[in-house]
């Protein structure tokens, strides 16, 4: 009799039932909650044909919303990259009183509902707000205009970059930077040639997350934008408006645009995660 030589043949036979059940449940939930709704968006958007779909997207108000959303993202992401690096550097490299408190403060936007951020800005910059009279006197328009939208989006997305970069900087410690200093590098050279290359993937990853959130932000922006069609409507707000107008195809067309952007970002994110690993 020849012994059975399948690898692991002598391992005790376990029931495969539990793993199969778990995998099945995970797949079913993913389908119900994520895949089906996403397919449905495209299905509804294209239900009345490509031509109507294109017409809906090319409608001036929707186009403007896409444009405005892009502008907001282009302003917010670089500012938050700079802010995230500065904050992570400060917290990782220096010890000062209030360091822990600062860390908590920076993460507040994650735990606060964005609508509260919107209302805070409303109370601060609004007509009856703290800075309102001064702003009116100097003819500076923040609310119901681009600056307000940018500010609220910045608030909501501010922790993303720092959250990605900080753990890496803490894990790497400051020895490489100190070594660079003693080799004669200036502060800027240390940053550009040692610190930045070390955090580049985490930084990109954080920026992608930040960008995705900036594009999709709804709650905070809806309070401060004023929902003026063709002027202060970002893409998520435009979708809601179209929906309220009972222009379901239009709403789904705009939503499909936003979903496409999100999918592109997702692919980017997955690829970056691979590179980082």
């Amino acid at each position: 009799m020849t012994p059975d030589q399948t690898p692991g043949a002598l391992a005790p036979k376990e029931s495969r039932l539990v793993p199969r059940l778990l995998i099945g449940a995970a797949l079913a939930l993913t389908a119900v909650f994520i895949v089906v709704p996403m397919i449905y968006i495209f299905h509804r958007a294209l239900a009345e044909g490509w031509r109507l779909y294109a017409a809906n997207i090319l409608q001036p108000d929707t186009l403007h919303a896409v444009w405005l959303t892009a502008v907001v993202a282009v302003i917010v992401v670089p500012v938050n990259i700079a802010f995230g690096i500065a904050a992570a550097w400060l917290i990782a490299r220096f010890s000062f009183p209030g360091r822990k408190a600062l860390l908590v403060l920076i993460e507040i936007p994650f735990s606060i509902s964005p609508i509260i951020a919107g209302i805070c800005y409303l109370l601060l910059y609004g007509r009856q707000g703290l800075l309102g009279p001064w702003l009116i006197a100097h003819d500076i328009k923040i609310l119901f205009a681009l600056p307000g939208i940018v500010l609220v989006t910045m608030f909501v997305t501010s922790p993303f970059v720092m959250r990605e970069v900080l753990p890496l900087m803490q894990a790497q410690g400051s020895e490489q930077e100190q070594a660079a200093l003693t080799l004669g590098a200036s502060g800027w050279q240390v940053f550009r040639r040692v610190t930045l290359p070390n955090i580049r993937w985490a930084l990109l990853y954080g920026a992608v997350l930040c960008g995705a959130r900036a594009i999709g932000e709804f709650g905070g922006v809806t309070v401060v934008s004023g929902n003026i069609r063709g002027q202060t409507n970002t893409l998520p707000l435009q979708i809601e408006l179209l929906f309220h107008d009972l222009n379901v195809t239009g709403a789904f067309a705009a939503a499909s645009t936003l979903t496409l952007i999100a999918l592109v970002v997702l692919v980017l994110k997955v690829r970056l995660e691979g590179t980082r690993g």
Binding site: T182, A185, S186
Partner: protein, 366 residues
């Protein structure tokens, strides 16, 4: 380059890390800062590099005051225990780093830098590693690269913090010899920090023993080994057995102790403490001795004896297995030291702040 440190102090919160360090280092010397962890040796090294600053005191190199200079201006190329190589750069670019960050006016040309790197790679015996990344190197290879990166800028003084601390024993011994060769070939004044006395004694021209923020002794390795200046140094060098004795006409006396092998000392009569290495003690069975054998363990070639004597004295001895065949736990033994150090004062008088909580001070081994 000559380097002068005078009356340097440094505090971290409530802890006095350096308490008045005075040290002069000559041109081309290879110096070991030896001491247990917490003795301030790494802080001293970082202050020389400009990565830390003293609260008071002076630091000058070639007569020039170094304290106002930044780490960037001093350009010492500090070598860290864990190498701190730049992971995104190839070995070649790691070594070139210090040259490529020089101000444009002084920076050598690309070809010159490449030639210098090539020369160093050969000098350090790692030309095959030039195009690898640090993650692809072994610990010993990384330390060679780290040293190459520092040497590339021809530092006025080469500073190494526990350079072999993260390596295994064999690589450590090889690299030690290699570093000695590098030093002799370049003639760069070199200071390295270590807690390993064997490493310090084998490598250094001069050893500076530090304890609790002070310099306990400075001297050639054999001087320190043969004549530890303080009880702290004696303990650190492995003289861990302390027996209270009475000095009479230069001879140490205590019940159960046969000091006939020790030379007479020109010291005043009175209470003193005899410091011994466990391996320098020969136990001789003697029913009249107060030292009773309480434990007997073996490490293969040697037996380790623990005894109990008067006044809470628990000396340990190491003897070759052959000669210990007749020993049994419970019997009494006379102790015959073959070599030792005597410091005046009874038990406790020698206890220094660093060793206060642990008279047998065991931090001498890593």
């Amino acid at each position: 380059m000559t380097l002068q440190i005078s009356n340097m102090t440094r505090r971290f919160g409530p802890v006095d890390v350096l308490r008045g360090i005075d040290l002069t280092i000559g041109e081309g010397e290879l110096i070991a800062l030896l001491g247990p962890s917490g003795s301030g040796k790494t802080t001293l090294l970082k202050i020389i590099a400009g990565l830390d600053w003293p609260d008071a005191g002076g630091l000058s190199v070639q007569g020039e005051d170094w304290l106002p200079k930044t780490a960037q201006e001093r350009r010492t190329g500090f070598v860290f225990q864990h190498y701190a190589l730049f992971p995104h750069l190839k070995v070649r670019d790691n070594i070139a780093f210090g040259l490529t960050v020089m101000p444009r006016a002084q920076r050598p040309g690309k070809a010159q830098i490449a030639a210098r790197v090539e020369e160093l790679l050969h000098f350090l015996q790692i030309p095959a590693l030039a195009d690898r990344y640090p993650a692809e190197l072994s610990g010993g290879q990384r330390q060679r690269v780290a040293l190459g990166r520092a040497l590339a800028i021809s530092p006025p003084v080469l500073l190494l913090d526990e350079p072999f601390g993260a390596l295994d024993a064999q690589v450590r011994r090889d690299l030690r010899r290699w570093l000695r060769g590098v030093h002799d070939a370049t003639g760069t004044t070199t200071i390295f920090v270590t807690h390993d006395q064997e490493e310090a004694f084998e490598l250094a021209d001069r050893v500076v023993v530090m304890g609790a923020g002070r310099i306990e002794q400075t001297g050639r390795p054999d001087e320190i080994y043969d004549h530890p200046a303080t009880p702290f140094v004696a303990r650190f060098l492995g003289l861990t057995v302390e027996i209270p004795v009475t000095l009479r006409q230069g001879r140490a006396e205590a019940p159960g102790l046969d000091t006939s092998a020790l030379p007479r000392r020109a010291m005043a009569d009175g209470p003193a403490t005899l410091f011994l290495r466990p391996a320098d003690i020969t136990p001789i069975p003697d029913p009249a001795s107060p030292f009773r054998l309480t434990a007997l363990t073996t490490t293969g070639a040697t037996h380790r004896l623990v005894m109990e004597g008067p006044a809470d004295c628990r000396p340990e001895a190491e003897v070759a297995r052959r000669s210990a065949a007749a020993l049994t736990v419970g019997q009494t033994l006379r102790l015959r030291p073959e070599a030792g150090q005597i410091f005046p004062g009874g038990p406790g008088a020698q206890t220094l702040p660093a060793a206060a909580d642990n008279p047998r001070f065991k931090e001498s081994t890593p």
